[in-house]
Amino acid sequence: MDFISILSIFVLACFVGYYVVWSVTPALHTPLMAVTNAISSVIIVGALIAAAEAGSPAAKWLGLAGVVLASINIFGGFAVTERMLAMYKKKEK
């Protein structure tokens, strides 16, 4: 993809992010941080490419280390978000 296409996606996504995040209820701001943390670990894509491709052993090991770190975040982030969200209940009656 050329730089301008990528930049367009980025700028539009910033606007989407702006409006979506303002619509998040303040009561869920902590789960919001936990889940944004989990999804920002999509950086694992880069780590996987480095770990998968042949060519540079150093890059491969850096990639594998990145996969471990990002996995901690992905599993930990989604799991802790799920745990928190499960606690939010309406009054039972």
Partner: protein
């Protein structure tokens, strides 16, 4: 296009690099439209994940969308690359996943801020590792123009590494401060603004030089210097910021972790990463803004640091005047709570420290059975991170439709019989409205003075909030001070109510 062989003379540093003969051709992700589409779907799922958080009722579906998006991104990557080491990757995911899962299961809800800070540091470090891997094996990432990395790619790579490193070291300090492994007091270096601005300028300069030079031997010292300085600036930026400002710092680092992912997304031309980075970046920025507004502080003054540094000088220097206040017992409080029609509870971080939330919920349950209307009022900066108090109340089974934000409930204090303050202080201090010299002047606060009766649970008359200022609410006619440990006091009230 990879026919040029590196000169053999570049033995030592070049050994790190991919040998051009082995390097893969341009990454598949830049060619097939289906692959690009899959990453786009992942990105859209991440948008839906955040969209779900607009209400607790839809939030869990949102979280599932997030998981699905992540799965799509990971599978797409693995399927479209010639994976030479699937077993190793599987082990790496299993190790990381297990650690993450166990931490998520065991962490106490009071410790959420430090957990989030720790997780941010991992995203930051992962970004640094990916940036370095892309530098060492550009062919795998489809970054080669001829036999060198393109200048634009190098700028993106340099920025990604720098933001990632800042996120990492900044989050490590935030984690240490939040978890009490390091004093929350600001550490002020002399001439820190000069040092920080100089380091930032050096990072930008190195990135520019890195983009303009070619050849392993020339670029290696630049990228090493860039990485080291970025780690240093993350550390330097956070150590002068005091404990009271940590909610802003955690939100800010949240934002940085997003920008790091976005920068890497630019490098790799990956839509999922760019969308996510933009979402997370805006999310953290908005949360920082909300926190700053709730404290009436400008973002720059938080970043400049030093807030809370002169607390001891202001509080300890002058003897505070002794003013008369009324002290009550649990029995007095229980009696008056029973008589009330409407009670508004204002919980603060002190409640969480005392682990009083479960006893508090018990107390409000009894009151509701007796026909008293109970509402919870939450200030945006209650707790140690945005929304922290809501999670703590949810954990104690307080229904979320009884919990209200500052602007939604502040007008109701005039109809309330009792304002019940537990573990909060600065957020009810009227000095924020009246005293221009007060450090908290301008901060939005609860109008507890409008309530007929105020109960203030506090350990002793000595300690005064984060901001270190006296609170006129203590001395109001309708205020009764309940001086005790929060949990003990609430348990006694529960006993007296039975």
């Amino acid at each position: 296009m990879l026919t040029k062989i590196l000169p053999a003379s570049l033995a030592s540093p070049a050994a790190l690099w991919a040998s051009p003969a082995l390097a893969a051709s341009d990454s598949a992700s830049t060619t097939s439209p289906w692959v690009a589409l899959a990453y786009l779907v992942a990105g859209v799922f991440f948008i839906l994940a955040l969209r779900g958080l607009s209400s607790p009722a839809t939030s869990r579906t949102g979280n599932r969308f997030g998981m699905a998006g992540m799965l799509i991104a990971i599978v797409t990557t693995l399927v479209t690359h010639s994976v030479a080491s699937l077993a190793e990757i599987g082990i790496a995911i299993a190790i990381g996943g297990l650690i993450g899962f166990l931490i998520a299961r065991r962490i106490a809800m009071t410790a959420m801020p430090e957990l989030v800070a720790a997780f941010h540091s991992l995203v930051g470090l992962a970004a640094v590792l990916v940036g370095w891997a892309a530098y060492l094996n550009p062919g795998a990432f489809g970054l080669l123009e001829g036999d060198a990395i393109g200048a634009v790619s190098k700028v993106e790579m340099g920025l990604g590494i720098a933001i990632g490193a800042i996120t990492f070291s900044g989050s490590v300090i935030a984690f240490a401060k939040l978890s009490g492994r390091m004093s929350g007091a600001p550490i002020l270096l002399p001439a820190r603004h000069v040092i920080n601005l100089g380091t930032l300028a050096a990072i930008i300069g190195l990135t520019a030089m890195f983009a303009m030079t070619t050849g392993p031997e020339e670029t290696l010292p630049l990228i090493v210097g860039l990485t080291v300085l970025a780690f240093a600036i993350g550390f330097l930026l956070i150590i002068p910021i005091g404990g009271a400002d940590m909610p802003v710092v955690v939100s800010m680092l949240n934002s940085y972790s997003g920008w790091a992912a976005a920068a890497m997304g630019f490098t790799l031309g990956n839509t999922a990463m760019i969308i996510t980075g933009a979402l997370v970046g805006s999310s953290g920025a908005i949360l920082s803004y909300i926190m700053c507004r709730a404290m009436n502080r400008s973002f720059l003054s938080v970043i400049a640091g030093g807030f809370g540094a002169d607390d001891s000088a202001a509080g300890g220097g002058e003897a505070r005047e002794q003013r008369p206040y009324k002290q009550g017992s649990a029995d007095d409080a229980a009696f008056m709570l029973e008589q009330a029609e409407k009670v508004i509870v204002i919980p603060g971080y002190g409640m969480a420290v005392a682990q009083a939330q479960h006893a508090l919920r018990e107390m409000t349950d009894i009151l509701e059975e007796k026909g008293v209307e109970v509402k919870f009022a939450i200030h945006p900066v209650a707790g140690r991170m945005p929304g922290h108090m809501n999670v703590l109340l949810a954990e104690a089974n307080v229904p979320y439709d009884k919990v209200f934000e500052l602007e939604d409930i502040n007008s109701e204090f005039s109809q309330a019989d009792v304002a019940f303050i537990i573990g909060a202080n600065d957020v009810v201090n009227p000095a924020a409205k009246t005293d221009k010299s007060s450090p908290i002047y301008g901060m939005p606060v609860f109008d507890v003075g409008a309530a007929k009766q105020v109960f203030f649970i506090k350990r002793s008359m000595g300690g005064v909030g984060y901001a270190g200022v006296d609170n006129d609410v203590f001395y109001m006619d309708q205020t009764m001070m309940l001086l005790s440990d929060a949990k003990k006091m609430v348990e006694e009230i529960v006993k007296a109510l039975d």
